[in-house]
Amino acid sequence: MSTPRVLVLRAPGTNCDQETAFAFEQAGAVACCVHVNRWLESRWLAEDYQILCLPGGFSYGDDLGSGRILANQLRHHLSDSLARFRDEGKLILGICNGFQILVKSGLLDSADACGPAVTLTWNASGRFIDRWVGLRVASDRTPFLAGVERMFLPIAHAEGQFIGRDEPTLERLEQAGQLVLRYCQSKSCPKQPFNPNGAARDVAGMCDASGRVFGLMPHPERFIDRTQHPQWTRLPAFEEGDGLRLFRNAVQYFA
């Protein structure tokens, strides 16, 4: 099996790059953290990689709305490179801030003639929230979630409420199988409202039409080791965290 190379893209304010690279390496990939300035200097930089990952953080402080500035940089300067990367059958993953960047850069195929169709906006509570959530996989559209039915992962965000322009738009994406990951009830935290941010249709993650571009608000890289589970001291021993499967799937895709 060939070992895929992962480009973990960082920008000012990216802060989950190192643990995300670590998670990919645990899954068997070779991961490099690369500053966006390097890619801007050399448009061919991504050619050497099979997987592009936009990790979590606060790129450029999320100062003009989450992910907005980096998304604009990608659109203005790297849209050709990104299109080529996707069209060559490679994988793109956006986690948390990375998902926000994917949504706002138009890489998730959600826009139509009327403009952007979905966005990630402020949590219904108006606050940043760090907690764990139950997740279910709602379609087999993306290879990242192949064979996965349920996961328990942490979220940590302020702008994670997925909303659509209107109901027909959401229905269109639902029918296309793009709304792949949903918040759901979990036995680990039965009493909380399972949807942590008010997301429409409980959407926690979506993919593009090809399924090879996938973004999600929860952090799979934060549940690789069993001691990261918030209740590991009350659970029977288990080997690895739910998040690792997602990274394994990405590596497996190139086997």
Binding site: G13, N15, E19, Y60, L64, R68, F128, P230
Partner: protein, 1009 residues
């Protein structure tokens, strides 16, 4: 031409900011009925901006098409100031409810809020960069917030603006349309060398110079400066005077605690030449000698953080700072830059540590303090608390450093002087743990630009706050820019690993003055002030030198490696500038465009300050029995309506009241706003248990993802005990910090601690006496427990004075507030335990002896009782108990462990039960007690130190008992499958019988905001 882009919620989506203002106005009693609409806006100025381009910026950059709608115009256009049409959005309801009172404003009052010129505006900075990314030049960008207010009287509207919409320390309010049509980008500066004629001044003149120049120096210090310059035959320049004031400030030199103190207490007298050195430092020194080659301390009390050994590859650094005065004036900015500052402390330790987690401990007045009881100049404690939490949240989360541990204490005496302690832990390679600037190295500034912000922070923090502080010292209040600091962090660690510099320190209080002055102390330094990159024109050479603008580090860089460092910084968009050189002259020479503006001997600057001599007295309080208090207590907790039958002898209501008391109540509202899992090393989170909502004793994380070794972070503090005896307060805080670490599995032989003294005015001998007494306890406990202090900090003068309604001057001094922060270690994190009950049928053991110690307890607080005996520590017994407890946990005998602190056994048992979702039955008769006659209330609620409640599976019971053989231990109960906590006294009578749901609700309700 000044363009404006306003962003409104898209029609049909909620205007959350406006709803928040309405709710706060009602909750704080500022206005009964008010209707608000809000928008955020950008002002953009630049010759290349056209209507079409601005429209495109609105559409593609600033507005989110799905969530927002925008209005574009030129300042002055009516469409920018007209109230938005939000029909159907629901905001007119409250206007309808207001019943059209005669005096209410029928029209919409537009209130616009802008940051004052010169205040850090990261959003505007980012917007400028992003606009340039479109290929268009832009001169200036500012952000604003706008509110259309109706339904309230004019007075009410003004109160809302002053209290909720803008903070006068950093923001300005504009009523109606903007009165300008262009943005000022700073005015020019004309160089003029200023001197302060000091030589001819008499004592009164020196005092006036100290006060009016905001130098806050003592008479003897002013006289010393006068003598120094008289001998030189000249007067000082302003920048020389400022440099001396910064270096000699309490904040930078700790002259009181590291000074001469004549101390007297009931036992006798003691003379200190250097109080800290002879108490706290001495204990660490003695321990290190005792340990000899097993010494695991690496660097203590000298660098920006204390450093201890972690594993074969890494050391670990820990520092806790306070940012009290800035947080009192501008809670968000104060806490924001407080955390940013302490992160720079670890980043500036050795050759740079990588920050791996943060801590925060706050002290506030009760958030339900009635609005009309606030003295002038005091912000409402609820708003202070919210601002502080948001400030820490926004800095820590953006930096990607998990905030993992903290505490909040409430007392009315923190009304004018809230306390904000921020801590940071950093990981540093063993061979990068020391620094040494070399003669002829370049002085390089890295990071943010220098502005007028934060002038006089160091001297200001050494002064007492008054109701006028806001206007006098507003410049000392700042907003941080976390992303700038994150960029500096990224580039600095890369440069460290490439060996590009010989020393680093942060620009904290005193700015370049302190950073360069400290680094060049043994060498000398020459600085060219005009080289410092500035945010805007117009800064004088003195302002550049003493500005405390955030996010700057100073490096000492060999000439040979400078080109590589410069390239590295440029490649990540970080500004790096050579300011001068560490010239081996022994002098600090400051130049501005070739003219020498300052020239001081390093020796005078660092060793010329006359020693401060202070008197300290401690009068022991007469012991008195526990009794009802004469005066009503501040902010008594609401009596919860528990459904437990309040039969005679029942303590149900007492337990519920303590769980609802603010210090004990759940802090989930705060904790969940912090990212406590970023970096991926989280092992024990601040909230644990069956529903992830039980209070963890300490945080555990793995700073190195490839390793199973963990660090443990905890704290201990109890200002209430200080009212009885600061010695026992300090001893209890140390015991609490250590036992919190031990409770999750830390090795008590590897716990390092930090001290943070926040006290009142130590020129009063009784105030200083209470501090010395606490320091003596730190010495004694550190030695006895073999727990070294590795770093510390003090913040004195935490007093607030104001003039009351009758025209009398009133002063509120904070209670003595010693925070002990602990850094423990575990060999293998998978042996850690949490405090939630795990399984029905398991046994509950109480470890440690319970004494009749209700003095200062939370039982006394909720019952309104004074007097009683304050908890003490028996150090040899504590040391043995911690070791035995660790042995039992490490061997795997313990399913759950919780320390006993505020509220004693009853609260610990309730928390374990509600966290585990399991019931428990306890028998008070079985517990190890000091005297047989001890009553049920004392057994339930006494806060005796060195105690743990442990859950042990029956099959491990024998081994557990054997492991704890040396300590007082007793099997006092059982975990049940029921949903109740039931406790019977020594005669078998039920004293507590409550459903878990009631316990949890009482505990969560008070701060469920």
């Amino acid at each position: 031409m000044l363009w404006e882009i306003d962003l409104h919620p898209r029609l049909g989506l909620p205007d959350s900011d406006a709803r928040g203002v309405e709710a706060d106005a009602a909750a704080l009693g500022l206005a009964k009925y008010v209707s608000v609409a809000s928008a955020s806006g950008y002002l953009l100025q630049g010759p290349e901006l056209t209507a079409e381009r601005v429209e495109r910026l609105a559409r593609e950059l600033l507005a989110d098409a799905v969530a927002e709608q925008y209005v574009v115009g030129q300042v002055g256009d009516a469409r920018l100031t007209n109230p938005p049409d939000r029909s159907g959005a629901g905001s007119d309801e409250s206007l309808a409810r207001s019943g059209r009172r005669e005096e209410v404003q029928q029209t919409h009052q537009l209130v616009q809020v802008l940051l004052k010129p010169g205040v850090m505006d990261p959003v505007a900075q980012s917007a400028e960069g992003a606009v340039r990314d479109f290929g268009w030049n832009v001169d200036a960008v500012r952000t604003l917030r706008k509110y259309w207010i109706s339904g309230a009287t004019e007075t009410e509207t003004r109160a809302i603006a002053a209290e909720l919409l803008a903070n006068d320390a950093i923001e300005q309010v504009i009523w109606g349309p903007l009165p300008f049509d262009r943005l000022q980008a700073g005015s020019g500066y004309e160089f003029q060398l200023l001197t302060a004629p000091i030589r001819g001044l008499d004592a009164a003149g020196l005092a006036r110079l100290s006060r009016e120049g905001q130098l806050y120096l003592q008479p003897a210090e002013m006289a010393t400066i006068q003598r120094y310059f008289a001998e030189l035959g000249r007067d000082p320049t302003d920048v020389e005077l400022e440099t001396i004031a910064q270096t000699w400030s309490e904040h930078c030199s700790h002259k009181t605690l590291a000074g001469r103190i004549s101390y007297r207490d009931g036992l006798g007298e003691r003379q200190f030449e250097n109080m800290l050195k002879e108490t706290i430092f001495a204990a660490t020194h003695q321990l290190r000698q005792r340990w000899a080659e097993d010494d695991w301390c690496v660097s203590v009390f000298k660098d920006n953080a204390g450093v201890v050994r972690f594993d074969e590859r890494f050391n670990i650094a820990f520092k806790v700072e306070t940012h009290n005065h800035p947080s009192a004036l501008e809670p968000y900015g104060g806490a924001n830059t407080g955390l940013g500052g302490v992160i720079r402390d670890t980043l500036g330790t050795g050759l740079g540590a990588k920050p791996v987690c943060s801590t925060d401990v706050f002290c506030f007045a009760p958030p339900d303090t009635p609005h009309d009881q606030l003295p002038a100049g005091v912000l409402h404690p609820k708003l202070v608390m919210r601002g502080v939490v948001e400030g820490v949240r926004d800095y820590g989360n953006r930096m990607g450093i998990p905030t993992v541990n903290g505490a909040v204490y409430f007392d009315r005496r923190y009304l004018g002087n809230p306390l904000v302690y921020c801590g940071n832990v950093g990981l540093i390679p063993r061979d990068k743990s020391f620094k040494e600037p070399q003669p002829r190295d370049l002085i390089v500034s890295v990071g943010g630009r220098t502005g007028r912000d934060g002038i006089h922070g160091a001297t200001f923090s050494s002064a007492e706050l008054t109701h006028e502080s806001e206007s006098i010292s507003g410049g000392a209040v700042q907003i941080g820019n976390a992303i700038e600091e994150k960029k500096v962090l990224d580039v600095l660690l890369a440069a460290r690993d490439r060996g590009l510099f010989t020393a680093v320190t942060d620009c904290g209080a005193g700015g370049f003055s302190s950073a360069v002055g400290e680094m060049g102390e043994k060498i000398g330094a020459e600085v060219h002030l005009e080289r410092a990159p500035v945010k805007y024109e117009g800064l004088s050479y003195t302002e550049i030198w003493i500005s405390e603008a955030q996010e700057r580090m100073v490096l000492s860089v060999p000439e040979a490696t400078w080109p590589e460092l410069e390239r590295l910084c440029a490649s990540e968009g970080v500004e790096a500038t050579v300011l001068g050189r560490f010239e081996p002259t022994g002098r600090l020479t400051l130049k501005y465009r070739g003219t020498v503006v300052g020239d001081l001997a390093m020796e005078f600057l660092h060793n010329g300050r006359p020693p401060v001599g202070r008197q300290a007295v401690f009068e022991p309080k007469m012991a008195s029995p526990l009794r009802p208090s004469g005066a009503p207590l501040p902010g008594p907790p609401r009596q919860p309506e528990g459904n437990g039958a309040a039969s005679p002898g029942s303590h149900n209501d007492d337990l519920l009241a303590i769980l609802s008391s603010l210090n004990v109540a759940s802090k989930e509202w705060i904790i969940r706003q912090y990212d406590h899992e970023v970096q991926g090393g989280s092992v024990i989170k601040p909230l644990v248990g069956a529903a992830c909502d039980g209070p963890s004793d300490a945080a555990v994380l793995r700073p190195v993802l490839e390793s199973r070794r963990g660090i443990v972070i905890a704290c201990g503090m109890n200002p209430r005990y200080g009212d009885f005896d600061p010695y026992h307060m300090a001893a209890s805080a140390i015991d609490e910090a250590v036992r919190n670490c031990v409770a999750v599995g830390a090795d008590p032989g590897r716990i390092a601690i930090l001290d943070n003294f926040c006290w009142g005015d130590c020129e009063r001998s009784e105030t200083l006496g209470s501090l010395v007494r606490a320091a003596l306890a730190c010495h004694d406990l550190s030695l006895a427990l073999e727990t070294p202090f590795i770093s510390g900090k003090d913040s004195l003068n935490n007093e607030f004075s104001y003039v009351n309604a009758s025209g009398e001057k009133q002063t509120i001094a904070i209670p003595p507030s010693l925070l002990i922060s602990a850094l423990g270690q575990v060999e293998d994190v998978s042996r850690c335990v949490t405090m939630d009950l795990k399984g029905a049928g398991n046994r509950l053991y109480l470890v440690g002896k319970t004494k009749n110690e209700l003095g200062g307890s939370h039982y006394a607080l909720v019952k309104g009782l004074d007097g009683g005996a304050v908890p003490t520590v028996d150090p040899p017994r504590a040391k043995a108990t911690f070791a035995a407890m660790h042995g039992a946990i490490d061997a795997g005998f313990v399913a759950a462990c919780h320390d006993l602190s505020e509220g004693g056994l009853a609260v610990a048992a309730a928390e374990m039960a509600l966290a585990g979702g399991l019931g428990a039955e306890l028998r008070l008769g079985a517990m190890p007690v000091d005297a047989d006659a001890i009553a049920a209330a004392e057994r339930l609620f006494s806060e005796s130190n060195t105690r743990f409640l442990c859950e042990v599976p029956p099959e491990d019971a024998e081994s557990f008992e054997a492991a704890l053989a040396g300590a007082a231990v007793a099997w006092i109960g059982t975990v049940t499958g029921s949903d109740r906590l039931q406790i019977v006294d020594d005669r078998g009578a039920t004293v507590v019988d409550l459903p878990l749901a009631d316990l949890k609700d009482a505990w969560q309700r008070p701060l469920r905001w």
